[in-house]
């Protein structure tokens, strides 16, 4: 038997390495399943200020100070809805601001905002009191110390420790107007300005 042993045919190579080897990257499929950018992010900054209509405000507010708006300059001033609209160029982003006010005022604000928004009620109050030329007076009144008790209690920036926080999502243009008014009337803070305007509106319902 000088014949050479024929080579074994055997099974052809199948390159089965990948059967036993884990994928190169466990996370490789994830990129195909979920986009890296959440679709909701496109909706973060609304193109238009979704402030409710004037009619909605009229229906919602427990009272208005329409009767105070007697000054001739009224018609030349922008409506709060217009003022709340985005700035030209559409770059007016929303920011959260915090204002501090007494719990009772917050409750009033909440009720006034039914069917509307708290931001709208706040801006509307500031606008209307300013139109009436009473904002300086309202701020000064709000700063007067309480003399009804035994002690004259010192005023704090937040107007007292019993205040609660109210969060408002305002456009940058809203914030700029509020801050301009704070400077104009030397109000201690943005919260003090808002408190004064809301207090004036609360006490001049009729």
């Amino acid at each position: 038997m000088n014949e050479k042993l024929p080579p074994s045919g055997g099974l052809p190579p199948r390159h089965l390495e990948q059967v036993f080897t884990p994928p190169a990257k466990r996370s490789e499929n994830l990129q195909r399943i979920l986009s890296a950018v959440p679709p909701a992010k496109a909706r973060v900054v609304p193109a238009q200020d979704p402030a409710p209509s004037v009619e909605a405000e009229a229906d919602a507010a427990p009272a208005t100070i329409e009767e105070v708006k007697t000054e001739p300059t009224e018609s030349s001033r922008p409506d709060p809805v217009d003022r709340a609209a985005p700035l030209p160029g559409g770059s007016d982003a929303r920011k959260m601001i915090i204002v501090y006010m007494p719990a009772s005022q917050r409750e009033w604000l909440r009720k006034a905002a039914v069917g509307s928004t708290q931001l709208y009620v706040v801006l509307s109050a500031v606008d209307q009191v300013e139109r009436a030329g009473k904002l300086a007076e309202a701020i000064a009144k709000a700063q007067q110390p309480d003399t009804s008790g035994l002690f004259v209690l010192p005023q704090t920036t937040r107007g007292g420790s019993t205040n609660v926080q109210v969060s408002l999502w305002a456009l940058e243009s809203h914030i700029k107007v509020l801050d301009d008014l704070v400077s104009k009337y030397a109000a201690p803070s943005r919260s003090a300005l808002v408190r004064a305007a809301l207090a004036y509106k609360q006490h001049h319902r009729h």
């Binding site: 499929n29 979920l34 959440p38 909701a40 959260m96």
Partner: protein
């Protein structure tokens, strides 16, 4: 906050996923860290917020050296209680992965702050949502690791989250913890966050061979939810050795599996041991299977989110 303001907040926080179970040791930190790590590895920017005072997330991500987890939890406290910008306590713990860590001292202080403020200000329940809002657009995914207790922390987390995932083991205590979390979920949806969705229940830590136990656990989950519950198809197996190795070494499981020796290396080690050499224990090959489970459940989680986003 009125509904319009909440809508604006929630649209920014559309990919916030909370992992919670009312019982400790239910693998929620391990699951959430591995899901976050895989997401970061895929190229997504991911933020992990550890709300558990035990701070085990830091260990899972390798911050176990002395001083590395120092001040963990302070940034979250400062962001919520003092309204400072939330800054990750440990940025880039992995590529694309930032961590807001936790520790017992700061978490205790945070819970006290929440207890005091949630009584007098109903908007305080959105404190975490507000803290996340300014930085949320930097991330594709935000993962919240909930504590088993600390009701106030769980409530603010569920008010900030878009999705909830409940991991549970097969034992009755874990299943009770799952039910407790389900009750918190229902309460959060009713009172604080109607957009919150139960993305799914993840059955974890069940041996692969225990087919009957696996089926019984899934049936028990369905029963607890009064019928059909969203249960992920991938069951994360019980694999004590690689799970322990991963945490002790500060590696995620898909990272650990790269250290599993090849067959040739295994034989070489056997020869060395036979020759009397001291050989360090090798990484268990089960790490590969466990990594496969975590990858599988992460894919399911991503698919579930993608499905909801497509339908929105």
């Amino acid at each position: 906050m009125d509904s319009q303001e909440l809508d604006a907040l929630r649209s920014v926080l559309s990919r916030v996923v909370a992992f919670g179970n009312g019982k400790g040791g239910s693998l929620k930190t391990t699951l959430s860290s591995n899901v976050a790590g895989l997401a970061a590895d895929s190229g997504m920017r991911v933020l992990v917020v550890d709300l558990d005072p035990q701070g085990n997330m830091s260990e899972d991500l390798g911050l176990t050296q002395v001083g590395q987890d120092k001040d963990a939890g302070e940034s979250l406290y400062e962001a919520i209680a003092r309204r400072k910008t939330l800054v990750p306590s440990h940025p880039n713990v992995r590529e694309n992965l930032d961590l807001v860590g936790a520790d017992s001292t700061n978490t205790e202080a945070l819970v006290s702050w929440l207890q005091a403020n949630m009584l007098r200000d109903e908007d305080a329940v959105y404190a975490l949502a507000r803290a996340l809002q300014p930085i949320a657009d930097q991330y594709s995914l935000i993962v919240l690791d909930l504590p088993p207790g600390q009701e106030q922390l769980i409530r603010v987390a569920l008010a900030a989250a878009r999705y909830l995932i409940i991991p549970t083991q097969a034992d009755i205590s874990s299943l009770k913890g799952m039910e407790l979390m389900g009750q918190r979920f229902a309460k959060a949806r009713a009172n604080d966050n109607p957009d919150l969705e139960l993305l799914g229940v993840a059955a974890v830590c069940i041996p692969e061979a225990a087919k009957v136990l696996r089926n019984e656990t899934v049936a028990a989950i369905h029963r607890s939810f009064g019928g059909e519950a969203p249960v992920f198809g991938t069951i994360v197996r019980h694999a004590a050795v690689p799970a322990t190795d991963a945490r002790n070494r500060g590696l995620l499981v898909h990272e650990l599996e790269t250290f599993v020796p090849s067959q040739a290396e295994t034989f070489a080690r056997l020869r060395q041991r036979a020759a009397g050499s001291q050989v360090e224990r090798a990484v268990s090959s089960t790490a590969v299977k466990l990594a496969s489970d975590f990858a599988g459940i992460t894919e399911e989680i991503f698919a579930a989110i993608a499905k909801r986003e497509a339908a929105a």
